[in-house]
Structure formats: structure tokens, C-alpha cells
Symmetry: C2
Subunit: 487 residues, 2 copies
């Protein structure tokens, strides 16, 4: 498994480089290299040697619980990977690279047609993948399971019904209330000062720069190149201070999870994150529950003001806090507030479900997208670049991924509520810039376990109950009720 | 071969990253990843599939001359690689990583003992490698052949005899002459301005930034991550302008060779550089014959002065030119002038020869090194960091590498003399900053051929004769005779 991990992480290095430093004309050969590595990984893992080792371990009576769990999870993955042919894996890798390049161009030129044939081809691969993998109930369940084990359409339909029933009317009330000001975010903020300020935020969270680094990329992400090499990227917009702040804290949250996994399980399930939903719970907890709290900015505003004394001279910590929690309809998911965010996710979920039900064709996507934005956000989409072309995910072949963003936020609210009960005066510590106890709590409750528990088991273990949307809802009502002065 | 190249270049990405951006504590896992990739490459190349393909092609009567040459060279490499076991390759990769880390620490702490056991182990591997590979005559010939095909101790002994007979007395005359001034190089030169100036020099040479990039590393190098992704690194010392200038132009010369190889031969010998000696001929030709010429700085001094008007206000293009050609005994090979440089190489050559003759033990190395520096350069070595620990090569397991530096300089002089005959008014073009005709000449004469010719064949094809030290000697006599006003 360590050997396979070596090649897996090597591919991650190539992908990291692709997003950060690759020269403009180098994409084609890089795509071939990644395709070859994915084929090699598949061959190594599904080969006879692995089968023989797994068989040998089955009859080994001396395994510890942790070893048994590793074995069980590896066998599941082995059975899954055996369903793919190496040819399919390599062809899909090529199709993804081509779709990614086409998407970049289509987005730049606001021309969905350039992307459509590649997306169609990729959807063909993904539908074939559903059949290869098998599923119960809805075919889209096979896609969901890739990112969030055991997650189903039935479960998500129920969850988003809650969103519609509770969050949609609450957001309507906010829209009707007096809007808060956030114009100060859009002054000019020097690139290098933002960079330094962001590094300070990561440092304060406990990001270990000896075992990781930060770079710039057009789409911020976190990637793990080994247990001792977890990298985040950020983007800096000199005309919007908030973009850098959120991407730093968000990716920092992902990175703390990865840096908290146990290196002795290198290449093993117990050294891996549970699921995308739990991963997102870590990034969202830091970004929203910590980073968008009044306590955090009561403490950190003075640091922002040290970097930007002129730009922020008429702003108070409270105004800074309110501004960053401004709720409003928006076109772009990644720039949306933490409430309407889930409407963006719901739209993508409904579109993906329709695609896998064969109810929606690729050339119908832009119009369908725009209609949904009108319906849920009452907003007119002026261009596909700001609409259906905005996200990278489909070009990566990632379907069933978006719902994990909402799951993550909801888990985060539930976990943070629990942390607030167990950690004495958490807001006071956050305000004092002492985040070490919170990190230690997350390490002990979430990080060190790797995949020993499922997402559901972990949630019950930590909070005593299953994922429950009410925790998010009451967090939202408390916080935004105060900000918008709702009765 | 393309498939194998994909993995080879993937390893190159990991190595590039290791030298540029790797977090401090990430070295161990990275070493494991590189070891796994080297094992995979070896398995892929020496496997039954390759053997079957090669056998099939042998009886194919329709191959073109270029295809035949590719096949011939691949078969040679296949036979060579078959002599190694995968275990040996992986163990050596691990030993190299350990030796590299130990060398870094030993150099930093000026403590040869920290490095000695690793170096000893590595030398053991290399001696075993000589036996695996086989050789005629001297065992060190097996090492030389790895970097410069067919190069032998007999040939190098003759070459360095020329150096001793002609260059040593000439340099003595220079030492006795009035020294030229270069103190202005050691003023304070701003990091960012140096960076921009260096990029301009690369641009002027014809480096294609769409198919490559430059980064910072502690030891400048060039690496190829694909035919469309050739990367150089430089180092910037604010207290020495010349370091950046030489590393930029030198690595730029290597990179132009790599960017001039034909992408259609991806993974094939005809898409590869001939040898390290020919590679070095390209870097040295740009660095010394072009970049240290009066014409080059008659043209480019004004650009330097634009970046550093204050620092260079009392300097003329002629003084700049003379300063950068100052000849003097020095401790560090990479900072030495282009004449005494070959004494540094000769010392390393003699040491390596003695090691492979079992005449020199690892713990005797520092004293032996210091004695040689006294003998050839009349200089006392004050510390191992500035002595036997200065070069990375041995820690990489690279023995037989150093002599190619001298070969490269001598080829460069011979090639440049020929280019000066064939290109009308080459100095005038260099002075005008128009280097395109020279690059086109190198492309046509050297780059596009890949490994179609051997180094010796290429030299005869271009210049009508074998490598001949007299060309370097007459270049040196002309240039330095003028600078030092020798009769």
C-alpha cells in the first residue's frame, strides 16, 4: 500500500504543479504523464500480488482491530477498483484532461459549445462507471458513493427538503431586512501585504509550515503530497480583501485535517480522511464557525489593520464581522455567503440528478441552470462564464461531489456546537487568538482516526446523534438573527 | 517508450520540486516516492513486454534510418538496464537520498564525518555497479560511460596532460600579470531587480517561456519535465551580481538544447541529448564564448545599467567585461574563472580515478583534496565545506560526471570557432543583441539530431575534426592575452 501511495502522491505532485507552476504550453504532455500514472496505480493495486497479499491476511489470526479495519477497507477498495479496466482508467484520465482544457477555454471565451462535446463524452464515461460499479436505487448513488460512502439520493432529498423548508424562508426574511455594509472590502489591498496577512492567519490556526506550504493558484485548493507535505493554495484579488481571507482559512482547515492524520498509516485507510463531507466539515468549521465569528475578528481585526491602516481606518471589528457575513443573492458559488451557498449546491445537485436520470442533455444545461438561478436566487445569469461554466468540478469528472459541500457545513455546525460545550470559554480563546485547544479537540475527535469510523459513526460518536440539519439552522438563526436584527 | 518517459519525467517533476519548493520536513517520504518510481521505471523498461517489442522490431524490414537508430540505441540501453536488478535500483535510490541529506547537513555543519559513512556506502554501490555493467581497461571507464558514451581514462589522461602542458603555464603567466578589477560586482544588488534582469537575458537568448520557466534554488540546475516543459533555476546573491548572471546564461544554454530537441521523439533516443559533454558544450558556449565576450557586454551593459544605475555608474562595458573574466585561484569550482575551472575538474577526476582504483579511502578524502588544491592552485583550503564537501555530485551517486564539464568547455570553443566562420559578423550580431542566428545554427547543427550521432561523430560533422584541445587553448590565449596584456 505504501508503494501504491508513492505513485498516488507522485501524481498529486504533478497535479499540484499543473495548477501552480506549469508553463502555458506544457498541458498536453502533462496529461499523458498523469494518464500513465493513473494506469500504473490501477495496475499495481488490482494486480495478482495485491490479491495474494489480501488473501494471505484474511486467514491471519493475529491482527489488531486497527489492522483488521485497514484490511476490511482495503478489500472494499480492491473489489471496487477491480471493476475498472486499466484501459477505462487511462481513457477517463485522458478525457478529463481534455475536458479540463476545453472548460478553461470555454470559460475564458464564454462559449459553452467549446466545452459541450467534452462534457458529453465525460458524462458518457461516468454513466458507464455507474454501471461498472453497480448501485442500489438511483444510478447517481454510485457517484455519490465515490465521494461520500453510503450517501444516497434519498438522504440528500430529505436534507435539501429541510433546506427548502427552513433555510429558504429564513433567507427571505434576511433579504427583506436592512442590508449590512461591506463596501470596504473592495478597496485596494496590496498583493504582498495580503500574502503576509494570510500566512499569519494560517500560522495562528496551527498550520505546520515545516510540513507544508502555501502557493498561489487561480482556484484555491489543498493537496497532500505525503503526510509531511500538505500544501494549500490561495488567490489574491487586490480589489477584494475577503477572497484571500476565506480561501486561506478554508484551505487551512482542510490542511489541518491532513496534517493531523497519522503518518504511520501512510498509504492505508486509517491514514486517510473519511470522506469529502467530513473533509469539508473541517474547512467550513474553520472558515465559518471560527473565521466568520465576532470573537475571531474582535481578536484579529487589529492584525488586519496593521497591514492596512489606511484602507481600514474607518472600519470597526464589528463592522468587519458584519460585512463578511452579508447575505445576498449572487451568481458565483465560491463568492456566496454561507447561507445562500446551499442554494447554489442544491441547484447543482438537482442538475446532476437529472443528468443521471437521463432527463437532461448537455446542450440544455445552460438554460436549465439559468432557470434554476432565477427560481432559487431570483437572479438573472448574464453569461455562461458566470453561470454553468463557473465550476471546475464537472471538467474533472467529479459528479456527486457538490452535495458534500452542504454536508460539510452541516456537520461543521453540529461539531462546533459540541466543541463549544466541551471547550471552556471557546469564544474567549478564539478572541485571544489561542486556537490550539480547538485544534487539539479536532485532532482527537476527528483527525487521528483516519477512516476507522464512517462519517455517520463519527458524527454520532462526537455529538451523540446523526447528522441533524437543525444544528446548522439554529446556528444560522442565532448569528444572522443578530446581524440582521430579526425578531 | 512514451509510457516509460511519462514515469521518468514524473520523477523529474518530484526532483524539481525537491530542489525548489519542498517543505523542510518532507524529505523522507519524498525519497520513498522517488525510489518507488525508479523501481517502476526499471521494471517497465526491462520487462518481458519491452523484450518482445524489441524482438518484433528486429525482423521488421520497413524501418527508416531514424527508426533503426532509435531501435539500436534502445536495445543498448535495454541490455544495460537488464544488468541491474530492481532491488539494486531501489536500494541505490534510497542510498542516494540518504547520502544527499547527510551531505547537506555535513556541508552546513562543516563536518565531513556525518557524510563519510553514507559516501562510503554509495561508493560501494557504484563499485558494484561497475562490475554489473562491465568495462574494458579501467573500472572507472564504466562510470565515465554512464555520462559520456565511450569516454575512457586513456582519453581523459591525454586531455588533462594537454591541460597541464599548455593551460597551467599560461595561467601562471596571467597570475604574474597586473590583475583586473571586479570589486564592483560585490556591491549591493537588489534581489528583485536581479531576477528581472536575468529573465531579460534568458528572453534575449531565445528561451521559450511558454515551454519552460525559471525558479530559485540553492544550486542552479536545468531539468526537463517534458519536451514542452524545460525548467531552469537560478540563485541570487545580493552581494554578488555575477552569480545570477552566470547561472542564468549557463542554465539557459542547457535549456535551449532541451527546448531544441524534437518533441515527436518523446521518450526515444533521438529526442534526447547526446551526452553530458555535449550538453555542457551548449551551456558553456552561451556562458563563456557568448556571455563573457566583449561584444555581449558592449550590447547588454546598458540593460544592466538600467536596473542598477547607481551601483554601476562608475563602470564601463569594457571594465564589466574584464571584471567578469578575472582569473585567480579560488576554492569553489562553481565560482571559478573559465581557465582555473579546469584545474578544479582535474582534481576531482584524479580523486575519482583513485577511488575506483581502490587507492583512496573515504576518510582520506579531505586531506587528499586539500593537498591537490595546494598543488594545482597554490591555495589552502580552510574548511571541508569550502573543500571536499562543496559539490553535490557524489551525494547523488554521480561519479564520472565532472570530466564532462571540461569536455563541454573544449567542445564549446571548437564549435564556437566554427560558428564564427559560418555566421557572418557573429560578434556584431551578439553586440546588437540578435542571438537568433546563433541559436538557429545550434538548433540545426546540434539540437535537432538528438542522439543520432555520437559526441565524436557530431564534433567531426560540425568542425571537420575530432575534439582538439588546441581550439580552447587558442581561444583562451586570444581573449586572456588581450585582457591581461600578455605578449
Amino acid at each position: 500500500m505504501a508503494r501504491i501511495a508513492d505513485v498516488n502522491y507522485s501524481a498529486a505532485v504533478l497535479q499540484w504543479d499543473q495548477e501552480t507552476y506549469l508553463p502555458p504550453n506544457a498541458a498536453n504532455f502533462r496529461a499523458g504523464q498523469l494518464s500513465s500514472l493513473s494506469g500504473l496505480i490501477h495496475n499495481l493495486f488490482t494486480g495478482e500480488k495485491t490479491a495474494a497479499i489480501l488473501k494471505g491476511l484474511e486467514s491471519n489470526g493475529t491482527l489488531t482491530d486497527h489492522q483488521k479495519k485497514n484490511l476490511e477497507l482495503i478489500k472494499l477498495e480492491f473489489e471496487k477498483q477491480k471493476k475498472y479496466t486499466t484501459e477505462f482508467v487511462e481513457q477517463m484520465s485522458h478525457a478529463v484532461s481534455a475536458a479540463f482544457n476545453a472548460w478553461q477555454l470555454a470559460k475564458k471565451e464564454n462559449n459553452f459549445k467549446l466545452y459541450a462535446p467534452h462534457l458529453e463524452k465525460l458524462i458518457g464515461f461516468k454513466k458507464k462507471e455507474c454501471e461498472l460499479l453497480g448501485y442500489e436505487g438511483h444510478p447517481y448513488n454510485a457517484m455519490l458513493d465515490l465521494h461520500e460512502k453510503k450517501c444516497t439520493v434519498a438522504e440528500l432529498d430529505a436534507l435539501f427538503a429541510d433546506v427548502r423548508k427552513q433555510l429558504v424562508p429564513f433567507v427571505k426574511k434576511i433579504f427583506a431586512a436592512k442590508q449590512v455594509d461591506n463596501a470596504f472590502f473592495y478597496r485596494h489591498y496590496d498583493h504582498n501585504k495580503q500574502w503576509d496577512f494570510g500566512l499569519g492567519l494560517l500560522q495562528q490556526m496551527g498550520f505546520d509550515f515545516k510540513r507544508g506550504r502555501q502557493d498561489i493558484s487561480s482556484h484555491p485548493f489543498t493537496t497532500t503530497l505525503s503526510p509531511d507535505d500538505v500544501r494549500v493554495t490561495t488567490r489574491i484579488n487586490e480589489k477584494d480583501l475577503s477572497e484571500m481571507i476565506w480561501s486561506c482559512i478554508h484551505e487551512g482547515g482542510h490542511a489541518l485535517y491532513e496534517q493531523g492524520l497519522l503518518p504511520e498509516y501512510y498509504g492505508m485507510p486509517l491514514g486517510e480522511a473519511i470522506s469529502l463531507g467530513i473533509h469539508e466539515s473541517q474547512s467550513r468549521l474553520w472558515e465559518n464557525n471560527v473565521g466568520r465569528s465576532l470573537a475571531y475578528w474582535k481578536g484579529n481585526f487589529k492584525h488586519a489593520a496593521q497591514y492596512f491602516p489606511e484602507e481600514l481606518k474607518d472600519v470597526t471589528p464589528e463592522a468587519f464581522f458584519k460585512g463578511m457575513n452579508r447575505v445576498e443573492p449572487s451568481l458565483i458559488r465560491t463568492n456566496s455567503d454561507e447561507l445562500t451557498y446551499h442554494f447554489h449546491v442544491m441547484i447543482r445537485y438537482e442538475i446532476e440528478k437529472a443528468i443521471f436520470e437521463d432527463k437532461l442533455k448537455v446542450d440544455e444545461l445552460p438554460a436549465y441552470w439559468n432557470a434554476k438561478y432565477k427560481e432559487y436566487l431570483n437572479i438573472d445569469v448574464p453569461s455562461d462564464t458566470q453561470g454553468v461554466l463557473q465550476d471546475v468540478h464537472w471538467s474533472h469528472g467529479s459528479f456527486g461531489y457538490f452535495p458534500t459541500y452542504s454536508l460539510g457545513s452541516f456537520y461543521a455546525a453540529q461539531f462546533y456546537e459540541q466543541a463549544s460545550k466541551e471547550i471552556k470559554d471557546l469564544p474567549g480563546k478564539v478572541e485571544a487568538g489561542d486556537l490550539s485547544e480547538l485544534l487539539a479537540w479536532l485532532r482527537a475527535k476527528v483527525h487521528v482516526h483516519g477512516r476507522f469510523y464512517t462519517a455517520q459513526e463519527l458524527c454520532e460518536r462526537i455529538t451523540g446523534e446523526k447528522l441533524n440539519f437543525n444544528h446548522f439552522m439554529s446556528y444560522a438563526q442565532n448569528k444572522f438573527g443578530t446581524i440582521y436584527d430579526l425578531k
